[in-house]
């Protein structure tokens, strides 16, 4: 892999630019929100500025950081378990027809069972604490990861696989060198969704399971009919989801998929570059 100072600088520039461009989308969203606020009133939807002010207030409260950290740990633990198990199981299923037949119904089962049907079991197994929040996240995110890995392995390049075989590469090495780089784009598509889901589901599980964290704060705010605070916490969750995608997943993806941009300099016009 190429990695010189110039490359790093270019990457960083691109990254800053993309953050700046991303703000556009967020501002459009804020405008729509403001409009809805004016239509429905503050009881249904407080305006963005009030919400941000409330969020700033909240952030100074003691225990706020701990709550965010607690929820974050649950979301990320759940995500990592789901991403790991899902990708591993999906990979195995992609290689082996028999494994596919065994696992697919189990995954559809995990995917299709409405939460209320298993929440009682989860509560008994994991207690009404963090454990069941993590389990809920895993259940929500695992099938996404599984389906991505499955399809990624199934669509690997058999020609390259044969090449590696001809050079005596064992199954593990072939997986690592030939299938994985291809698989990654499927996995990143899945994981982008999964990490957002993880935050949302962790908060909902905390809220329902009475397990503290941001969800607990949300439950309290709601019980007090403090709608601005509810919105502020919602914004917090969305920001966390955005943050973990853009600060964790996307840089990883950039690094892993840098080869994809190779050879495109001449034929593809990049929107931020000016023709010299």
């Amino acid at each position: 892999m190429r990695s010189d100072a110039k490359g790093v600088a270019a990457w960083f520039g691109r990254y800053l630019w993309s953050a700046w461009a991303g703000a556009t989308g967020l501002l459009c969203l804020a405008a729509a929100w403001q409009m809805a606020h004016e239509l429905y009133g503050a009881f249904i939807l407080p305006d963005p500025l009030t919400t941000l002010a409330t969020l700033a207030d909240l952030a100074t409260e003691p225990g706020f950081g701990a709550a965010v950290k607690e929820t974050g740990l649950r979301a990320l633990n759940g995500f990592m378990l789901a991403a790991g198990i899902g990708a591993a199981a999906g990979t195995v299923a992609g290689y082996s027809f028999a494994a596919l037949r065994l696992m697919k119904p189990v995954v559809t089962f995990i995917l299709g069972v409405p939460p209320i049907s298993w929440i009682v079991l989860a509560l008994i197994w994991f207690g009404a604490s963090g454990g069941s929040a993590v389990a809920t996240v895993v259940v929500a995110a695992l099938p996404i990861s599984f389906a991505g890995a499955l399809e990624g392995v199934a669509t690997r390049d058999r020609g390259l696989d044969a090449m590696a075989r001809a050079f005596g590469a064992g199954p593990l090495r072939r997986f690592r060198d030939v299938t994985l780089p291809h698989l990654l784009s499927y996995l990143f598509a899945a994981w982008t969704t999964a990490i957002g889901t993880a935050w949302k589901v962790a908060v909902m599980a905390e809220l329902l399971g009475n397990a503290g964290g941001v969800g607990g704060a949300l439950a309290r705010a709601r019980a007090l009919f403090d709608i601005p605070q509810v919105m502020a916490l919602t914004v917090l969750v969305v920001l966390c989801a955005l943050g973990s995608d853009h600060l964790v997943l996307q840089p990883l993806r950039e690094a892993a998929e840098r080869w994809r941009t190779a050879g495109q300099s001449g034929s593809v016009k990049q929107p931020w570059s000016v023709r010299p």
């Binding site: 190429r2 090449m163 001809a166 050079f167 005596g168 780089p181 190779a262 050879g263």
Partner: protein, 246 residues
């Protein structure tokens, strides 16, 4: 005998491609495989390399390691030229540092320059990709090397250099090579033996030794040999295009 094919036959989707192939490769020997397009040369080579399981017959291998140049370059798009050339070595477990050195040497042998080595496959020219694939195969110091039209996309000068290089390396390092080509002159220059496949008869229709040592034959000799072959029945299918167009 390093490699021996015994009564090998194969069919795709019920359509027989090759039948009753018997072929053996001795150490240090270069065997050229020629035949009309679509006659099963690639298939036969894949069977010999163990990439395709033949429907009939057996393949006996008595060597440690083989390498292959496919008809397409088959470089890994996520690796640079350097890492692609070193890939065979990586599979063989050579330490990273060492294999990068070997890769650089092999790259020079096929005319790739130092700054080409940091390019990804889509940034290489077609000929460079093919040369990288050749370098990758020779880098592993194989006992048997399979080459499927390895020089088809390189220019005349480099092609000659690479042919000579192959012939010398085979003689020096004692590996044997099975190589497919559409260029009879190429076969006449560097092969010890020539195998002619037929599409119509679905098998080997001619198998001959070429006089003299490969690499030591001069232009004149090669030209005359090819001219002589042109009149033979065995080569009619290859050289007669008109007979195959309706």
């Amino acid at each position: 005998m390093k490699l021996r094919l015994e009564n090998v036959g194969h069919a795709f989707l019920g359509r027989t491609v090759i039948e009753g192939i018997d072929l053996a490769l001795a150490a240090g020997e270069i065997v050229a495989l020629v035949g009309p397009s679509g006659c099963g040369k690639t298939t036969l080579m894949h069977i010999a390399a163990g990439l395709v399981v033949p429907l009939r017959g057996r393949v006996h291998r008595a060597y440690r390691r083989h390498a292959m140049v496919f008809q397409e370059p088959r470089l890994l798009p996520w690796l640079t030229a350097r890492d692609n050339i070193a890939y065979g070595l990586a599979c063989a477990g050579t330490p990273r540092r060492h294999r990068r050195e070997i890769a650089a040497v092999r790259a020079r042998e096929v005319g790739l320059e130092a700054d080409d080595l940091d390019k990804f496959p889509p940034e290489l020219s077609g000929g460079m990709r093919q040369r990288a694939a050749v370098a990758r195969a020779l880098a592993v110091a194989p006992d048997v090397v399979f080459l499927d039209e390895p020089f088809s996309a390189v220019d005349a000068g480099l092609r000659r250099m690479m042919q000579d290089h192959l012939a010398q390396a085979a003689a020096r390092e004692g590996f044997c090579a099975l190589f497919v080509t559409h260029d009879l002159g190429e076969a006449a220059r560097i092969a010890d033996r020539l195998v002619v496949l037929s599409a119509r008869r679905r098998g080997i229709i001619d198998l001959r030794a070429i006089p003299d040592r490969p690499g030591a034959r001069d232009e004149r000799f090669v030209f005359d040999l090819v001219a002589a072959w042109s009149c033979e029945e065995a080569f009619a299918e290859i050289l007669d295009g008109a007979g195959r167009l309706q």
